[in-house]
């Protein structure tokens, strides 16, 4: 059990460093969710099952969902602005032609 716990703690530290070093935000979010799941197992090994359940539901589930939806929203805003710029250009171009 001791070795298992040490392996889990090393994996936790590895996940944290990976989150810090990855370039892509999506990868960082997914690694963070894995980190929370490993954390839940560590709670169980520390004899606090209440914390384990809460961490699995809240840390891996809800925080991850919120981060992912934020990423999606940011990508969407990007497309929106591009579209609207193109539309504006189109409209401006049309206006020029009619003149």
């Amino acid at each position: 059990m001791e070795t298992f716990k040490i392996i889990l703690l090393l994996m936790l530290i590895g996940c944290a460093i990976c989150v810090s070093l990855t370039k892509r935000l999506l990868t960082a979010v997914i690694i963070f969710m894995c980190y929370s799941l490993i954390m839940a197992v560590v709670w169980i090994l520390l004899e606090s099952p209440d914390l384990g359940i809460t961490e699995a539901a809240v840390g891996a589930g809800v925080s991850g969902i919120l981060l992912l939806v934020t990423l999606k929203k940011i990508n969407k805003t990007e497309t929106d602005s591009e579209e609207s710029e193109e539309e504006q250009k189109k409209k401006a171009g049309d206006g020029d032609e009619t003149r």
């Binding site: 209440d50 384990g52 939806v69």
Partner: protein, 305 residues
């Protein structure tokens, strides 16, 4: 809508028509990374070209270097100090000094006084119940902040959002959600109701149920989850649960906070209807948490209910 079998055959034969119903999604261009990068670069060039404020370009670079040097020193010093403190601590697992009279009281007479087999539930919902009320209010306030920051009122924007986020036609997601949603809900309700007997309780159960509702909303569209929790239901449940929590705990304190004169008795330990006020309080907290989590997701995704 085609029959499932036909769609499966079409999928097997690699028929492009299997995207039936997903054309809407396909029409929307995915943001190409190169264009985003180009825009970034343009922005950076524009920023670099103009002298910003009173600080010149050179000194801005200089201050950035100073900042990073100080950050490295700060991190290193903090790590060394904290680790040297940890090395001086008593050995892990043998630190019995944290067991003081407070802990002794909680463990030895916790069952007699609160009726909860799970001592952690007894602590957070009986001995420190006002702490938990404040915690629920923190969640509620967070939801209100999110509401203020992300709410969208114009109906035009809403239509655009719906188009982009529509995943409800994905077959794999639907079929897997069909099997997992009931399990998630049953597990959440189990954790919620058995909070005083086994690990779990209001927060974890509520979070599981909220995650289940989010899954329902992703797989079957907003209409399905909206039928479960509409804006009106959401408001009513949040306010009623918080008010019930406050009233129930006030009653407990009014009768002396020791359950001696309360009409609600702790009951037989180990049964589901035991633990005095802990079970109703767990249900109230769970409802608040589930609604809050779903509300946050909805605000982030759509900007309105």
């Amino acid at each position: 809508m085609k029959l499932d079998k036909e769609r499966f055959n079409a999928w097997l034969n690699d028929d492009p028509d299997r995207l039936n119903g997903m054309e809407e999604m396909a029409e929307i261009p995915y943001p190409p990374r190169e264009r985003i990068k180009e825009k970034r670069q343009e922005l950076q060039e524009r920023i670099d070209a103009q002298p910003v404020g009173q600080i010149s370009f050179l000194s801005r670079k200089f201050w950035q270097r100073v900042y990073s040097v100080f950050a490295v020193i700060c991190c290193a010093v903090m790590t060394v100090v904290l680790l040297s403190t940890v090395a001086e601590l008593p050995r892990f697992g043998e630190y019995r000094d944290t067991i003081n009279e407070l802990t002794e009281r909680y463990i030895v007479s916790g069952l007699k006084e609160t009726g909860a087999v799970n001592i952690v539930a007894g602590i957070i919902l009986d001995y420190r119940a006002f702490d938990t009320l404040g915690e629920s209010f923190v969640l509620f306030c967070a939801l209100n902040c999110v509401l203020i920051l992300l709410r969208i009122d114009s109906s035009d924007d809403v239509r655009h959002h719906e188009l982009y986020f529509n995943l409800a036609h994905d077959d794999i997601l639907r079929k897997s959600a069909l099997f997992s949603i009931p399990i998630v809900f049953v597990y959440g309700i189990y954790v919620l109701l058995n909070g005083h007997l086994s690990p779990g309780g209001g927060f974890s159960g509520g979070a599981v149920i909220g995650a289940g509702i989010i899954l329902l909303s992703i797989a079957y569209g907003e209409r399905a989850s909206g039928a479960l929790i509409s804006e009106k239901v959401f408001k009513t449940v949040c306010c009623c649960a918080l008010a019930f929590y406050g009233v129930a705990k006030s009653y407990s304190f009014f009768t002396g906070a020791n359950h001696l004169h309360s009409i609600i008795k702790p009951g037989t330990p180990g049964e589901i209807l035991s633990g005095g006020l802990i079970l109703p309080l767990n249900i109230a907290v769970g409802m608040v948490v589930a609604c809050t989590i779903y509300g946050m997701y909805r605000m982030f995704k759509k900007g309105r209910f």
